[in-house]
Subunit: 198 residues, 2 copies
DNA sequence: GTCTATACAAAGATAGAC
DNA sequence: GTCTATCTTTGTATAGAC
């Protein structure tokens, strides 16, 4: 019996999620509407409600899909025995640089964290879970580098993981607000330096 | 002739600004309404429009007042010759800890940065300016500490200033999303350590 | 699955009485 | 300065035809 793959959504559903994700990353959940998506996709508002009855359903679906992609990418990175810890860290920062190369997007969960109290409960719970999993992954990476002697940072891995994630999220946020790419590149440089401090 | 003081606003105007500021820090600009403020203050929506005709006026007034308070506090801190650079840094972090001690607030400009593209242009410009001034102040503090030998961090002060601000803003954001105060306290500890690295 | 039409509530804003 | 009343637009959502 072939492995049970996740049921693929219809093309339209996927396109709705693509547009919704992009719009949330630019304007935030509160500020987007079915009308915005409708205009970009070229179908009517009511048709979107067919795929995602409520905005809560839509928001939750966007975050779930994002988390699945994200966690899979991290798992693959973690499983690549050919990479040093620093190479893994560099690979990990690539998506941040990609976001920073757009004029108006930040990562989905950073955007949602900014309005966490305005989110419907199911969406909020997903965002919280994302941050927990994300930091646990980072802590494992840091521990691996510390054990191998590649990294030499102060404090325990979970503490440094919190610091690294905070700095990257904050850098993306301020980069978009000020338009200066240095905000992210300098932050990454300082983290890299701190990971290798002697 | 006595110095021209800034014209004090009416009590009601100030109360409106107080409530609006608090609500933006918790829910964000897009998610708050004249109705929300009306309910908390116990006057009608129309009365708020008397003080601040449009939501843009209100948002700009909130940020302007915040920036004035903020910049004055930083200037006083900077002018206090009795403090070491590290003592200044510690004093600088106090408001972050105060925000983190609330369950639901982050600093105003961090909250607004999260929805920068959804903001009316005048508000957006103020937020951008705030980040510039804020980082310039931080860079001066770092330079002072580096010159005196108190600090020993990698890179130039403006780069480290970007990193420090990013980490603190990101830590507040994730602290609120996850509820863990460690997010901020660990981040501050890591920054402190990096400022004194040898 | 997509459409038109519509319901319903909320938001931003204004007019005019007091 | 604050009120009631009202206007207009937008947002979320549903009903029912095609």
């Amino acid at each position: 019996m072939p492995p049970r793959l996740p049921q693929p959504r219809s093309n339209t559903s996927e396109e709705i999620l693509d547009i919704a994700e992009m719009l949330i990353e630019t304007r935030g959940y509160s500020a987007i509407s079915y009308q915005d998506i409708s205009e970009q996709l070229g179908i009517r508002k009511a048709s979107i409600h067919y795929h995602f009855p409520s905005k809560t359903d839509l928001g939750a679906a966007v975050v779930e899909r994002y988390m699945q992609r994200f966690e899979q990418a991290l798992a693959e990175l973690e499983g690549d025995a050919s990479k040093t810890a620093m190479q893994m860290f560099e690979a990990y920062t690539v998506p941040y640089m990609e976001f920073a190369d757009t004029p108006d997007r930040i990562c989905l969960c950073g955007a949602l964290a900014g309005e966490i109290l305005a989110l419907p409960a199911p969406v909020r719970a997903l965002v919280q879970r994302h941050f927990v999993l994300h930091q646990e992954w980072l802590a494992r990476l840091l521990r691996r580098g510390a054990r191998s002697g590649e990294f030499n940072f102060p404090g325990q891995p979970p503490r440094m993981a919190r610091h690294v994630l905070a700095a990257l999220q904050g850098a993306l946020l301020i980069k978009r607000a000020t338009g200066s790419l240095l905000q992210l590149s300098d932050t990454i440089a300082m983290i890299r330096s701190q990971l290798q401090s002697h």
